[in-house]
């Protein structure tokens, strides 16, 4: 175990809460777009991680190479994500859907797309890790309660705030708008939606576009928090993203965010309160995931199939 004085130290506890939420927000932001495509289209889009990685690079080019400010970088990355995702729909998913391919076929083609995208990134950007310039965000953190108090970096604050904004915004879009209604109809049954006169292909494109926007936001925010942009960053987060999607309930927007934050907190607290917790944080995190699924097989916020939609 750790130093006993740490166990009862309230500042240490709060600090880990903050760091854990920020770590979890990374997973949450990533999982948002993932769960949307999952929920609406019934596709495990494994190219989502590659899209996210490309967006991080687009943001890096805009901010680091061209020297433009963060909001421009964020918008450019989101737009790039939207376009890449729509491109994927046309190249990797629509042809399969029209041919009425096997359920697993889109997942396989997304793996292929992902491999191609990662290889292209390695070719274009070399495999070396890129870093955002130091001027993008103030590297000096904020302190709550003096310099001995709780520390929050600007990147941490940004990612927690933006992940909540995106969650609320996406929830509003799906629930309150006409497009959202159409998206839900397509999610319920593409066939029924078509019979109601909904242009299913158009809705699918819109869904992919939104998913891509979210991947773009994730690329920039995570890039800022970890200061680590490389062709391999998608693979690092993909597994946890999938886990978070399942933990929250497939296709459940709020569930993805809560699942992400929970995973981040569990990992952080494992490291913080166990000796050499870094060795087995993954094991503990996934054990807890497994236990939760045993109790709630449809995920934290998931409902039984018949009661949904």
């Amino acid at each position: 175990m750790v130093d006993p004085s740490l166990l009862t130290n309230p500042v240490y506890l709060l600090q880990n809460l903050v760091d854990g939420l920020a770590r979890g927000a990374v997973y949450a932001v990533f999982a948002l777009g993932f769960t949307l495509i999952f929920g609406v289209l019934d596709i495990v889009n494994l190219a989502h991680a590659a899209t996210y990685m490309w967006c991080a690079f687009v943001g890096w080019i805009v901010m680091s190479e061209w020297g433009l400010p963060l909001p421009v970088g964020l918008l450019a990355a989101m737009l790039a994500g939207g376009l890449i995702a729509v491109g994927l729909e046309f190249v990797a998913f629509r042809p399969l859907r029209q041919e009425g391919a096997e359920r697993l076929a889109p997942m396989i083609s997304s793996i292929g797309a992902s491999i191609i995208m990662v290889s292209l990134a390695e070719t274009f950007f070399s495999a070396q890790t890129k870093r955002f310039p130091s001027g993008v965000l103030d590297p000096k953190p904020l302190y709550l309660g003096g310099t001995d108090g709780v520390r929050v970096s600007w990147a941490q604050l940004l990612i927690v705030v933006v992940s909540i904004v995106l969650m609320v915004g996406l929830g509003y879009l799906i629930r309150r708008t006409r497009t959202g209604k159409a998206i839900r109809a397509v999610a319920y049954s593409q066939r029924a939606a078509r019979l109601l006169g909904i242009n299913v292909n158009r809705i699918v494109v819109i869904t992919f576009f939104i998913g891509g926007l979210l991947a773009g936001a994730a690329g920039i925010l995570i890039g800022l928090l970890t200061n680590n942009i490389a062709p391999g960053i998608g693979a690092q987060i993909e597994l946890r993203g999938l886990a978070v999607v399942i933990l929250g309930g497939l296709g459940n927007i709020e569930g993805a965010v809560i699942g992400g934050l929970l995973l981040g907190l569990v990992e952080t607290f494992t490291i913080a309160y166990f000796q050499k917790g870094g060795d087995y944080k993954d094991a503990i995190a996934f054990l807890i995931l497994f236990l939760i699924l045993l109790v709630r097989p449809n995920g934290l916020l998931g409902r039984k199939e018949a009661n949904r939609a």
Binding site: N16, V44, Q128, I183, Y188, L225, K276, G278, D279
Partner: protein, 433 residues
């Protein structure tokens, strides 16, 4: 809100299977590390027998050039060393050219191409030239095994330089040992590399040859009382460096106030650093590779660790201060070589490298450059492409005048030359002390 879906159960099981598969793949890494450890143990016993034999061969070869022992080098060699070589001699370079650790591999590739170009242009081997076969090991064990197999079986090389990472070397070098082809590691610093067999060499000082000197220097300068340690647990090199750090700290009477670890690919180290900070350390010791080292250094400063950071060999790249910027100030690292070294060989190398690549060479390029010349010298001495002859000639190298200074191989084919202790000051490496 919940979006309606098709057959949920099928999808869930597919995803769970995927998660399980990926987890297994991820776990494969740590479990695989035990395998090389086991093979190393076996190899050590085997090697201790062969090393003794090899050492005597080398020694006697050096003293009595024409004695009976040189017969082992083959009858073709005869007395005209260097004269018989002709045509193109293939030497493979297994380098990490993709992934985070490509920082090291690309430095090595530049330096090797520079050195081989010089060797061929200056007719160092008389009528023969060296053809460098560069293969990308991707910093991956499986890929390392595959390109080593390619080098040995398809390219039929006479010798191998590399691989870049110790972990890859532990996986791939046994193949060369088995085939009886000499391997010269240029950046493998983990313990136990040359124990893999009598055909395995390295010219990179092992951690045990550098770290104790670094800790001694830090102790002499700032006499720290407590040290916090952070290391990557999923890599042989960072683990073995951690062991050496731990032993050196204990030997110097520096108390270890906390030890934390992380996995390859982790990006958020704030929790570990925050915990280490609570122990009130006077120095932070980090055994990690460059990909993680940069965010660690930045986040250490962010959580308020202002104390000097002592790094392992992974910190030995100008990228540490180029990318970590101000956060890198005060880093202390032991090095086999230093850009500002007054050694004339080193100066000439720096000039040639700058002229060709318009960039400063780092320690890895210096070691790679010397490795190319060591191999060429061995080829020249052996006067043949017979693998055993090259091996014996390499093992016999003493007081080679190179970029790294006066260089010799010891009886275990490990390098002997003086290290330097560096610190980051004013945005670049400077001599510490």
């Amino acid at each position: 809100m919940q979006l309606r879906r098709g057959s949920l159960t099928l999808n869930l099981s597919v995803v769970l299977a995927l998660v399980a598969m990926t987890l297994l793949a991820a776990c494969g890494d740590p479990t695989a590390t035990t395998a090389p450890a086991a093979t190393t143990a076996v190899a050590t016993t085997a090697a201790s027998a062969t090393t003794a034999a090899a050492a005597t061969t080398a020694a006697s070869a050096a003293t009595t050039a024409a004695s009976a022992t040189t017969a082992a080098a083959g009858a073709t060699t005869a007395a005209t060393a260097g004269g018989k070589l002709s045509g193109e001699i293939k030497v493979a370079a297994l380098l990490t050219l993709t992934g985070d650790n490509s920082v090291y591999g690309s430095s090595q590739k530049n330096a090797l191409e520079l050195a081989i170009g010089e060797i061929n242009d200056n007719k160092f081997l008389g009528g023969a030239t060296i053809k460098l076969v560069v293969l990308d090991d991707k910093g991956d064990k499986q890929e390392g095994i595959s390109v080593m197999t390619k080098a040995l079986e398809q390219e039929k090389v006479s010798a191998v330089l590399g691989p870049t990472l110790s972990a890859t070397a532990f996986a791939a070098d046994p193949l060369a040992q088995k085939a009886g082809i000499p391997v010269l590691g240029m950046s493998n610093t983990a313990n136990g590399i040359t124990e893999m067999g009598n055909f395995v060499f390295r010219n990179s000082l092992p951690e045990s040859g550098v770290i104790p000197g670094v800790i001694d220097a830090v102790k002499a300068k700032s006499s720290p009382k407590k040290a916090a340690v952070l290391y990557e647990v999923t890599n042989e090199f960072t683990k073995s460096a951690y062991d050496v750090f731990k032993a050196s700290l204990e030997k110097n009477g520096i108390q270890i106030s906390g030890t934390e670890s992380y996995n390859k690919g982790d990006t958020d180290f704030r929790t570990q650093l925050n915990k280490l900070k609570a122990g009130g350390p006077d120095i932070l010791v980090v055994s990690g590779l460059i990909g993680e080292a940069i965010p660690i250094v930045q986040q250490a400063r962010e959580v308020g660790i202002t104390q000097p950071i002592v790094g392992g060999n992974g910190f030995n790249s100008p990228n540490i201060y180029k990318q970590a910027k101000d956060a890198a100030e005060g880093i202390v690292v032991g090095s086999a070589w230093f850009l500002g070294s007054p050694n004339p060989k080193s100066k000439a190398f720096v000039d040639a490298y700058k002229k060709k690549y318009n960039a400063d060479p780092d320690q890895f390029s210096a070691q790679a450059y010397d490795a190319a010349y060591l191999m060429a010298t061995a080829l020249k001495t052996a006067g043949s492409t017979d693998a055993k002859a090259i091996r014996d000639a390499l093992a016999g190298i003493k007081d080679f005048d190179g970029v790294l200074g006066k260089f010799s191989f010891d009886a275990n084919r490990n390098p002997v030359h003086p290290p330097v202790v560096l610190t980051v000051k004013g945005g670049k490496f400077d001599v510490y002390g």
